[in-house]
């Protein structure tokens, strides 16, 4: 391994070591939040949280718990660094990102990953192996930036709905992007759960009855009508298409939380969460 002969750091030099038999279990989740170039990574013994933010109004968090990894060690209480997510994803899919046909994957041609980080100022090292071929990637890390605290507390949640993602997928892909906002109505009474846009095509409403078979949970206490910038919410479609269920919650300030439950190729569950602050007050109408 001539690449590594200069100086092979001892295993203990690394403050973060993680190994994964199937790199797609990581890359898929990261793609779900890839709507900005850079991401901040926090690693604790529980796993890695990757955060992407935009416009100080929307935040996406991907949680990859320690159990997803075959090996996961964090030497310090927490490890934080900022990284170019585009580059990271390019490296993770360096052997290709398309799903391997089932019969091939049984034969064991997953891309395996070993990820090491020595600490502040050091690059993130990726060792990717497929079929005996090893690629080593070093990605420079950056000064971590403070991330937003949305202070979204479950005790302040007013309305909560859990939907099978199938029901929202088409709605989000067909959103009238000429509308500036997406208006979300959640109410104990009709129309229960409504998505509205106001674009060139006039207004469009999408109503979900609370007894729909897509509705896993409908828990609305009071009528809330909030508007969110459609440009901020649209990127969450990436998570939506991967997910099987989505939890939609709003708190007393109108802040929106979208939690996507994503099942990876090994059947394990991961979560991606989007927070978004509301647009201006809705005029009574």
């Amino acid at each position: 391994m001539p690449l590594l002969t200069q100086r092979i750091p001892d295993e203990n030099d690394y403050c973060l070591v993680a190994s994964l038999d199937n790199v797609r279990n990581l890359s898929t989740i990261l793609k779900a939040i890839h709507f900005r170039e850079h991401a901040t990574c926090f690693a604790t013994k529980n796993g890695i949280k990757v955060t992407v933010e935009n416009a100080k109004c929307v935040q996406a968090n991907a949680f990859i718990q320690a159990g997803i990894f075959q090996e996961f060690r964090v030497q310090e209480e927490s490890v934080t660094f900022r990284i170019n997510l585009t580059v990271l994803l390019d490296c993770l899919s360096i052997f290709g990102s398309s799903p391997v046909p089932v019969f091939v994957s049984i034969a064991g041609t997953f891309t395996a990953l070993r990820m090491c980080y020595q600490g502040y100022g050091y690059p993130l090292m990726l060792f990717l192996e497929e079929g005996g071929v090893v690629t080593v990637c070093k990605i420079n890390t950056q000064e971590p930036e403070e991330t937003l605290d949305f202070d979204f507390c479950s005790t302040n949640v007013i309305n909560k709905i859990i939907l099978q993602s199938e029901g929202l997928r088409e709605a989000f892909s067909e959103l009238d992007m000429t509308s500036e906002v997406l208006q979300i109505t959640m109410s104990p009474d009709k129309p229960y759960f409504r998505l509205s846009t106001f674009g060139n095509a006039g207004s469009s409403h999408l109503d979900y009855p609370k007894d729909s078979d897509l509705m896993e949970l409908f828990h609305c206490n009071e009528t809330q009508v909030n508007r969110y910038k459609i440009s901020l919410l649209k990127p969450s479609t990436k998570a939506l298409v991967l997910s099987c269920k989505v939890s939609i919650r709003t708190d007393n300030r109108g802040f929106l939380s979208l939690q996507y439950m994503i099942r990876n190729e090994d059947g394990q569950i991961c979560f991606v969460e989007y927070y978004c602050c509301p647009d201006e007050e809705v005029p009574d109408s």
């Binding site: 088409e170 892909s173 060139n200 095509a201 207004s203 469009s204 999408l206 009855p209 007894d211 078979d213």
Partner: protein, 442 residues
């Protein structure tokens, strides 16, 4: 919302066609959407024009060189109800409301036809004339309801009356055959030429395609008379028309598995593409290029072509028939200098068919001012038009679309409408027009 203030002018339910119980409602909506998609090839505006004959969707492009109409018979819908006018609540004012919709507004609603077909269980369309809105409701699986409120403008729909049965040439072809015949044309192809003799039909790239090298493929496809469901060639001719409308009609006819009838005569006279089905009738009228010695070929110059029209009303040209002579079927060649290719074999003095056949369109509203002055004088040609409209001796014959509706506008200085032209197009100025059958002569 007080109920007595609601004015439901027209209520249309699309659900399941009673004549065809097996068709799932989604498929019916899909056909409706395909019709809108086909019409979107014509123009960026769409008229909803209900009548006792059914719901007509109409579209006409801004230079009036293409017109499309799809008429859904009342039995296409599960429930169809309409009224021509609306009585305001207390006053006796009768409003005659017509709906002109922006294609940009309505097309996105019917863009994802696959998902509509899968999910829609019922579709309800009605107008709320009090708010100038067309409401389109989709009742989907899982109890999901989609509501689209599209604003419309009150504007009278156009009608073009085109005696397609009077055309000398009629071809009826299955969409599958036509699709195979035009499969080689690229999407950049703007115009195609249809050349016919009683022995064969040739569909080829228009000679007028631009000469830049990125677009230099020339294709010819021959279709034998056996391939047509109906084959009647009265005159040998060669017409050139826009490709994109043809593709739109083709996609639509593929969706409803109905053959396309092509009615046409000589170059310069409009042609009709029509589909007749039990539940609907579609007619697309397209301008064809008139043989004319000038260099414009794109649709943008349609309007200009009016001004460049030469003044002598001349004999009909007899170019037809000499077109298929030595061409090898399906040959593809680089078109380096196509104008040269044709310069020798073309008479220099080809004329337009000024006063026969081109339909004239009248509009009941102010748009009538759009009638261009047909001026033999070329001095008014804007600079964007091509320069050499003069008939240089020996110059290649080049063609140009005659604007089909104004094509009859005269070559001399008279008021166009004072001329005794046969009026082939009228606006549906009143409902009587439609009721007394002018539509049926379309």
């Amino acid at each position: 919302m007080k109920a007595h203030l609601l004015l439901f002018m027209r209520i249309i339910y699309i659900h399941r066609c009673p004549l065809n119980e097996v068709a799932p409602p989604g498929q019916v909506v899909e056909v409706f959407g395909k019709a809108i998609q086909a019409l979107s090839r014509v123009s960026d505006e769409l008229w909803l024009d209900p009548s006792e004959k059914g719901l007509a969707l109409r579209s006409v492009n801004s230079c009036r060189s293409a017109y499309g109409c799809v008429l859904f018979s009342p039995v296409f819908f599960q429930h169809y109800q309409w009224s021509a006018s609306v009585k305001m609540n207390d006053t006796d004012i009768i409003l005659n409301l017509n709906c002109r919709l922006g294609m940009k507004s309505i097309l996105p609603i019917f863009r994802c036809l696959n998902s509509l077909e899968k999910n829609v269980e019922k579709c309800k369309i009605f107008t709320r004339s009090d708010k100038c809105k067309v409401v389109i409701q989709f009742f989907c699986r899982h109890g999901i309801k989609k509501i689209h409120n599209v604003c419309f403008q009150g504007s009278r729909p156009l009608q073009v009356i085109f005696q397609k049965n009077m055309c000398a040439n009629t071809l009826v072809i299955q969409p599958r055959v036509l699709a195979e015949a035009i499969v080689l044309f690229t999407s950049s192809q703007e115009e195609v030429t249809l050349a016919v003799t009683p022995l064969k039909v040739c569909i080829k790239s228009s000679n007028e395609e631009s000469m830049d090298l990125t677009d230099s493929v020339y294709s010819e496809m021959f279709v034998g008379p056996d391939e047509f469901d109906f084959f009647q060639i009265g005159i040998d001719t060669e017409i050139t028309f826009c490709f994109k409308e043809l593709k739109g009609v083709l996609t639509f006819s593929e969706a409803i598995h109905a053959p396309i009838a092509i009615h046409f005569d000589f170059p310069g006279k409009p042609m009709a593409l029509s589909i007749d089905d039990m539940l609907l009738e579609a007619n697309f009228i397209l301008a064809t290029l008139a043989d004319e010695p000038s260099r414009a070929s794109s649709l943008q110059t349609l309007y200009l072509s009016q001004k460049q029209r030469r003044s002598e009303p001349i004999h009909s040209n007899s170019k037809a028939g000499k077109n298929i002579t030595s061409k090898v079927p399906e040959y593809i060649s680089r078109k380096v200098e196509p104008k040269r290719l044709y310069s020798n074999e073309t008479p220099t003095n080809i004329s337009t068919l000024e006063n026969c056949g081109s339909p004239l369109m009248k509009r009941a509203n102010k748009d009538i001012t759009e009638v261009p002055e047909s001026d033999g004088n070329l001095s008014e040609v804007p600079e964007s038009s091509v320069s050499d409209t003069e008939d240089v001796p020996g110059s290649p014959c080049l063609k140009k679309f005659s604007c089909m509706f104004f094509g009859a506008a005269s070559s001399d200085q008279q008021e166009p409408f004072s001329l005794p032209f046969q009026s082939l197009a009228t606006a549906s100025g009143s409902e009587e027009d439609m009721n007394n059958g002018s539509f049926s002569t379309f």
